[in-house]
Amino acid sequence: MPSKLLWVVGAILLTLLLVGCGKDLPQNTFNPAGPTAQSEKDVLIVPLIIAGIVFVGVEGGILFLALKFRHRKGKERMPSQLHGNTRLELGWTVAPAVLLAVVMVPAISLIWKLAQRPPDAMQVTVQGYQWWWGFQYTDADMAVDYGDHGPITTADVMVIPAGRTIDLSLRSEGGGAHSTDGTPDHQVIHSFWAPRLFGKQDVVPGAAGEGNHIVFSAWEPGIYWGQCAEFCGLEHAMMKFRIVALNPTDWANWVQARKQPSSTPAPGSDAEKGMQIFFGTGQEGQGMGQCIACHSIGGTSAVSTAAPNLSDFGNPSHPCFAGCDFDTFVPGPDGQLQPNYAALQAWLEDPNAVKLGAKMPDYNLSQQQIQYLMAYLYSLS
């Protein structure tokens, strides 16, 4: 009877594990897509197997003892009053200690290996805000061709070349944005985590956080999910991001496009009216938006870093917005990606209704203004 029970328990556990290893989960730590996550998974396998053996041994042991020595009705029996056994005690003190020492060796060597920063890695600075991520490509060959020749900057989505080793510097920022009720964007602790690519590392404001790095690469082109893993306030859950790994051609094109200033909409188009609203240069009552106060768009006079950089908003390689609270592109009836106007409209109507406490205030935009703004934003690519 006990052995049968063990089989049942084992079968259930195996099923659980198999399901747990499902290949279709976007944040599955057991389905690594790069060497960092792979090593972090591999180092766990031996301890997991040992833990499994101990689990079966101890749980089976408890079950076995409980059944074998259970009191049977009507059979009075006084067990021998055994007080202990020193040799056994020493055994079960030393044996686990040795076992633990053995499993710790590869773990410790991996700690040191993961802490190394290869000098030829591509440098990206990750900036945590409440509640979205900004990315700056700080290598010299990643500067834009206009203005002050600053680094290429993105928000919510980090685009990388597949196969290339990337070294992330993690910074916590507090922008100048504030929510409708005036709560500012505070500098707090975040944690940067893309489960299929790398384990998390905290993003700590102040001097202690300056050394925090993640070194990783993605084997294949693809879209990888990530999110903030350290509770960072109201919308911690909505502080997600995507890592988009591109093949060499797409990467070169993307970099080239990002170095150019954003295109200016055609005169007289809805997008142009939207641009006037964005920059607050339109007619009275029509184009007095304040977007420029916080957002920036490459190659224009909008340069504030308080809120996500919108230069890439209309590009399908930039699939989400507002801490990936909503997708900016959704598959249409034909299966082709098309702009997600409904989500953007809801956001512009009242950011707080979409994402409580969002640091973008409600500007009471009219439906007309919203239509124009959406046309402008989706023209940016």
């Binding site: 020595f69 306030g233 859950a237």
Partner: protein, 620 residues
């Protein structure tokens, strides 16, 4: 029959006399009554924390759910943690320690009965203070760990309530810890040497020392948090050179010993229940005791394993990875000794034993997943995910709460003179075991599948909806089990008291030498102790052939020569209640910048303590 003397007093400082009736509960200094009050109030907080858990699981039962918004969810998960840790498991342990330690060491009361009452009232008022935040602008919403600078910059009063509330309950715990430690060290009956103490008392002693030495650290951190929030100090403000990691170090330097504060009482309970129901002594008593002490010491040296991803550098991560692995060793020693206790026993699988065995089995799972956290690089993946949530619920629910239920079934006849229904107890156990595993086993998969903690919702595309639903079903199964327990308790308490057998489990320790419930003075005659498992040895002795046989009643057991001399007991006092009201007054005063209220609170405390000191003792 011994008589109790309560000398009537005159004047304003007259001590209250009543030892029965409703109002006597407010002035009692009897460790048993205080223990019952601790137990009842912490159980109510358990129900409250459980309701919070049900709301959490309801919200997560489907993706992108809108049952709760981010703000409500953050308050609820924060208060679920704070309530379960500070307002349930800690005071519930205090309940058992209070009730049982004096009885187990052969004392009439704790060393400082009035301080004991003070601890309880300060705890209760602090807990109510903390929960009053729900109605005063919102509960704490920064997580039970309240990481700065989110906790220092978070708008609203919630985290100020957190800092003040935990400072108040911290006072209660510190006073209680000193009181109980002194009780164990100083109040043992003649012959009750340290190594004749029941393991539960030993674990109690270790816990009191852990409390006394870890609470001051969190006290400092909470004051700094409070000052940052209230008076704009710069302790954790990175823009002024402050160091957010300082909070984490201080919090976990308290927080990890705290984990053992929560679990060591459970270890003590397992070590009491197992020998009784196996009808043989605890295997390797000294090793169980020493491993408990070792856990207490090493527990102060593993705090940074909560911070592996914080960027402490490879040296610190290596050191704390190793110390974390080391602490598994004494824990393993305990488990093997419990198995040794089972070996060859005559196991009576009554409800207390079922809960103990189930608790150990569940704790082992939590212990094993704990060892995987010491594999630091894979902890970079696991930390702050549901894998961690699964781990500590297996440890704290599987360990502590199963133990608490087991202890309730075991000592219920002692405390109330009534047995909880045995059959329904077993039913409750199986429902709890199934519900518990349904709730928390899937969380391993959720975590490894990439679901983070503390997120109020998740997208369907995460692919983890099914396991979240299983977990939510499990949570309601647990609720069903607790509901069954409550019904059982109410039905049992409505019956008249009275046991056929005042030693229903054939127990081994001194508390069972008294009547059920014990008289107010506990022992007519302070017992003299000759061995570990004193009561067992009074009942059983070896015959000529070395077989253990029952000693006939009135045989070689302790002879009771009651000469009818009076037993002096401390009289009830209302000063502890008066003093305790000063603390929430201080709290609300600081919260609302009402300096008159702060002054009034301080005055209440000073006047109360003066009255306390002037109060005539019964001995005069």
């Amino acid at each position: 029959m011994a008589t109790i003397t309560l000398t009537p007093q005159k004047g304003i400082l007259r001590r209250p006399m009543a030892t029965t009736g409703f109002w006597s509960w407010f002035t009692t200094v009897d460790h048993k009554k205080i223990g019952i009050m601790y137990g009842l109030s912490s159980f109510l907080f358990f129900v409250l924390g459980g309701c919070e858990a049900l709301l959490i699981r309801s919200q997560l039962a489907k993706p992108s759910n809108t049952l709760l918004n981010a703000d409500q969810y953050n308050q609820i998960f924060t208060m679920h943690g704070v309530t379960m840790i500070f307002l349930f498991v800690m005071p519930m342990s205090a309940a058992f320690f209070n009730y049982l330690i004096p009885l187990m060491i052969g004392a009439r009361d704790v060393a400082f009965p009035r301080l004991n009452a003070l601890s309880f009232w300060v705890f209760l008022l602090g807990a109510l203070f903390l929960n009053s935040s729900w109605f005063l602008g919102g509960a704490p919403d920064g997580g039970w760990f309240a990481y700065a600078p989110n906790s220092t910059t978070d708008p609203g009063n919630g985290l100020t309530f957190y800092a003040l509330g935990l400072l108040i309950t911290g006072i209660a715990s510190t006073v209680g810890a000193i009181n109980l430690a002194v009780t164990v060290i100083n109040m043992r009956a003649p012959g009750m040497s340290l190594f004749r103490m029941p393991p539960f008392v030993w674990m109690g002693l270790v816990v009191q020392f852990l409390l006394a030495f870890s609470l001051p650290i969190i006290t400092v951190a909470l004051f700094q948090l409070l000052f940052d929030r209230r008076w704009d100090t710069a302790f954790f403000d990175p823009t002024r050179g402050g160091e957010p990691l300082l909070w984490q170090h201080m919090f976990w330097l308290f927080g990890h010993p705290e984990v053992y504060i929560l679990i060591l009482p459970a270890f003590g309970i397992f070590s009491e229940i197992l020998p009784v129901f196996a009808r043989k002594p605890l295997f390797g008593y000294q090793f169980v005791v020493f491993s408990g002490i070792a856990i207490g010491f090493i527990g102060f040296g593993v705090w940074a394993h909560h911070m592996f991803a914080a960027g402490l550098g490879p040296v610190a991560n290596t050191a704390f990875g190793i110390s974390t692995a080391i602490i598994a060793v004494p824990t393993g020693v305990k488990i093997f000794n419990w198995m040794g206790t089972l070996y060859g026993g005559d196991l009576h699988l009554d409800s207390p034993m079922l809960f103990a065995l189930g608790g150990i089995a569940m704790f082992v799972i939590g212990g094993l997943s704990g060892v995987t956290h010491s594999i630091v690089p894979s902890d970079y993946q696991q930390t702050d995910t549901y894998y961690i949530v699964a781990h500590f619920h297996y440890v704290l629910f599987g360990g502590a709460i199963f133990a608490i239920f087991g202890a309730a079934y075991y000592w219920w006849p002692k405390v109330f003179g009534r047995m909880l229904p045995e059959k329904w107890g077993k039913v409750q156990f199986w429902i709890l075991l199934i519900g518990f595993n349904l709730t928390f086993a899937p969380m391993h998969i959720l975590g490894l599948g990439g679901m983070i903690r503390r997120e109020y919702t998740y997208p369907a595309a995460l692919g983890l909806t099914v396991w979240n639903q299983v977990s939510s079903v499990g949570a309601f199964t647990i609720a069903l089990s607790v509901l069954l327990f409550i019904i059982m308790v109410i039905r049992t308490q409505l019956k008249p008291a009275g046991l056929e057998n005042e030693d229903p489990w054939d127990a081994r320790t001194l508390e069972w030498t008294t009547s059920c419930p014990p008289p107010v003075y506990n022992f007519e005659e302070i017992p003299t102790v000759h061995s570990l498992d004193e009561f067992w040895h009074r009942k059983y002795a070896e015959d000529e052939s070395g077989r253990l046989v029952r000693v006939p009643a009135g045989g070689s057991g302790e002879d009771h020569h009651s000469d009818g001399h009076p037993i002096h007991l401390p009289s009830p006092s209302f000063w502890p209640l008066v003093v305790s009201f000063g603390f929430p007054m201080l709290g609300y005063g600081v919260l609302y910048y009402a300096w008159w209220l702060v002054a009034a609170g301080a005055l209440v405390i000073v006047v109360g303590l003066t009255g306390w000191a002037l109060e005539p003792s019964v001995a005069e």
